[in-house]
């Protein structure tokens, strides 16, 4: 019965909350019409009498459902039957209030069932409230969600958000939220549509639940000016190398790792590393600035330690931690970041310290400074020094091996594909060795065959002979068969002579 009535509901142009509520209000009075206005008045009175009476007498969920059934079946109740016979606090009065206060809004309606949902929800919520007096206060709250929910119930993707917002509202109003997630706008099941599904999709969750909001990561911009200032201060201090200063200068040099250029004196173990870093003063580089700032403090820390070993260990420690902290943007001078940026400097420092320790030439301190500064000026601004640390490796034999390896890797992949089983890395290396040996054997054999034929060029006949000797090609299986089996079409066409029109054969024999 309700479903049949619901069918009639479809086809409305733009039912709104207002119209729905109107219908709700009218049901009690006019025994809501079934189809259109014309057909409504008489037939449905009887239908609605019982539910309306039930509604007034004992508000329960069932009544709401039936009521909503009626509501849905009503269709377009344009006429307003404002029956003011009931002035006490009833759902009708509440709905009336909603009607008066709710703004007229047109709602996108993908499914008809969507719309009636808010009204029963409102009714339900109003009933649920223990204190009737608070109903009117709460209803206006529900208004925006109800109006908004209609438009948003349709998209299934919003279900999660609907539920959450519904939950939030329910929490705010103390509503039980058992039915809340069920707001599937399915025309088939009217009962399911009765569940609370109104939501505030437009309101971001953070508005109602600040904890749920995702805050963007706070990033503090680097104050370039202050950093440059400090940079210049440290450079000024460069002239007089004393144990205290190098620590500060370290900050400036931290970025540029020019270990080779800086063969530094080692007056004291503590100074050596720091002095080496001094001439590595870099130009303007934001990250360098950060590092400088932080390495300042770091170098101070290093000063206090005062021993090479401790410096080295510090640097190595920071070096390890540096990699993690590289991406973070750090503000100047923050103690937490200082270590991080100090760690960034650490790889360079570490490399430089090793260099310095080996050099151990005090008199180079001053002459080293000008060349280092020259080096610094000439050096282009480099990006992160994290990439620089492993400088000792020579790029000599690498390009030799790589193309060979990449070519072999093709066959190694084929091997793993044919094997269809997981393989260890050592097994793959073994396969590479086997392939190397195989290629050697192959070339030797081809050479022998070509020489046997008196040629200096290896021809396909030699290959066929080789495969015959290997046992791949025999009287039952010919070479062409293998070609057809294993090679793709383009290669097959190149290898197997095929006759074409015009008395031509490709490839020519």
């Amino acid at each position: 019965m309700a479903e049949a009535m619901a069918d009639s509901y479809n086809g409305d142009s733009e039912p709104t909350t207002r119209t729905l509520l109107r219908r709700v209000l009218d049901t009690a009075d006019t025994r809501t019409p079934r189809r259109r206005r014309s057909a409504r008045v008489g037939a449905q009175k009887a239908l609605l009498e019982t539910p309306s009476s039930r509604r007034l007498s004992s508000p329960t969920k069932m009544n709401v459902r039936r009521h909503s059934h009626r509501v849905r079946s009503i269709g377009r109740l344009a006429h307003v039957h404002t029956s003011g016979n009931v002035e006490e606090q009833t759902p009708r009065t509440l709905l009336k209030n909603i009607l008066l206060t709710a703004p007229e809004s047109s709602i996108m309606r993908p499914e008809s069932v969507v719309k009636p949902v808010p009204t029963p929800q409102v009714v339900q919520s109003s009933r649920r409230d223990s204190s009737r007096g608070s109903l009117e206060l709460q209803l206006p709250e529900l208004e925006p969600p109800t109006t908004l929910a209609l438009g948003l119930l349709a998209p299934g993707r919003r279900k999660q958000r609907l539920r959450l917002s519904v939950f939030q509202q329910g929490m705010d109003q103390g509503l039980p939220l058992s039915q809340e997630p069920r707001g599937n706008a399915s025309a088939s099941s009217l009962t399911s549509s009765l569940n609370l599904t109104f939501a505030t999709p437009l309101q971001p969750q953070s508005v109602q639940r600040p904890g749920l909001a995702r805050r963007p990561p706070t990033r503090r911009a680097v104050d370039v000016g202050a950093f440059l200032q400090d940079l210049r201060d440290t450079s000024l201090a460069l002239a007089s190398p004393d144990p205290g200063k190098p620590a500060e200068l370290l900050a400036g040099k931290a970025k540029k790792v020019d270990a080779h250029a800086v063969s530094f004196p080692n007056n004291s173990s503590a100074i050596s590393g720091e002095d080496g870093v001094e001439p590595l003063q870099d130009g303007v580089d934001e990250e360098a600035e950060e590092r400088m700032e932080e390495s300042l403090s770091v170098s101070e820390v290093m000063d206090t330690t005062g021993t090479q070993g401790s410096v080295r260990t510090e640097k190595s420690k920071r070096h390890r931690e540096m990699s993690e902290a590289v991406e973070a943007k750090e503000p100047e001078g923050s103690s937490g970041d200082e270590d991080i940026s100090g760690r960034r400097a650490s790889p360079e420092l570490a490399s430089s310290t090793t260099e310095f320790l080996q050099a151990r030439q005090p008199q180079f301190l001053e002459p080293a400074l000008p060349p280092s500064t020259a080096v610094l000026s000439s050096e282009p601004l480099e990006p992160l020094p994290t990439r620089l640390p492993p400088r000792a490796r020579t790029p000599g034999p690498r390009p030799r091996q790589d193309p060979h390896k990449t070519g072999l890797s093709h066959y190694v992949k084929l091997f793993s594909f044919y094997a269809k089983m997981p393989m260890e890395k050592k097994a793959l290396e073994m396969v590479e060795k086997c392939l190397d040996k195989y290629f050697q054997h192959l070339c030797d054999d081809l050479e022998v065959f070509a020489a046997h034929a008196g040629r200096k060029t290896v021809k396909p006949e030699d290959l066929e002979l080789l495969m015959r000797r290997q046992g791949l090609v025999n009287d039952q299986v010919s070479l062409h068969v293998l070609v057809e089996r294993y090679l793709p079409l383009e290669y097959r066409q190149l290898l197997i002579p095929c006759a074409f029109s015009g008395n031509s054969v490709f490839p020519a024999q």
Binding site: P403, H404, T406, G407, H410, Y411, L414, F415, F417, Y418, A419, K420, M421, P422, M423, E424, K426, A427, E429, M430, V431, K433, C434, L435, K437, Y438, F439, Q440, H441, L442, C443, D444, D445, L446, E447, A450, K456, T457, V458, K459, P460, D462, L463, E464, L466, M467, R469, Q470, L472, L479, L482, E484, R485, Y486, L487, P488, Y491, L494, L495, P507
Partner: protein
């Protein structure tokens, strides 16, 4: 018909022959010899068959040892057999 038409694995095997690589290898090994154009395709075919046989043998070795993973020893034992076969 071809064995290699269907690739059921998610990583798609390239069907191209590394012709440049093969030519380079041959040149490096035997600089005084020349390799013909279609010759390197047949060399590629030979390699495919070799790898195929090697993989089969390795798989059999692994099954015999009741291992789910191919280990270096399996490969080594298989390589001995197959290389001997492929000597020609």
């Amino acid at each position: 018909m071809a064995f290699s038409t269907t690739v059921s694995q998610r990583k798609h095997i390239k069907r191209k022959a590394p012709r440049g690589f093969l030519k380079r290898v041959f040149k490096r090994q035997k600089p005084h010899l020349r390799l013909e154009t279609s010759g390197d395709l047949l060399v590629h075919l030979n390699c495919l068959l070799f790898v195929h046989r090697l993989a089969e043998e390795t798989r059999m070795n692994a099954f015999e040892n009741k291992c789910g993973v191919i280990k270096k020893e399996h490969v080594q034992a298989a390589a001995k057999v197959i290389l001997k076969k492929s000597r020609g």
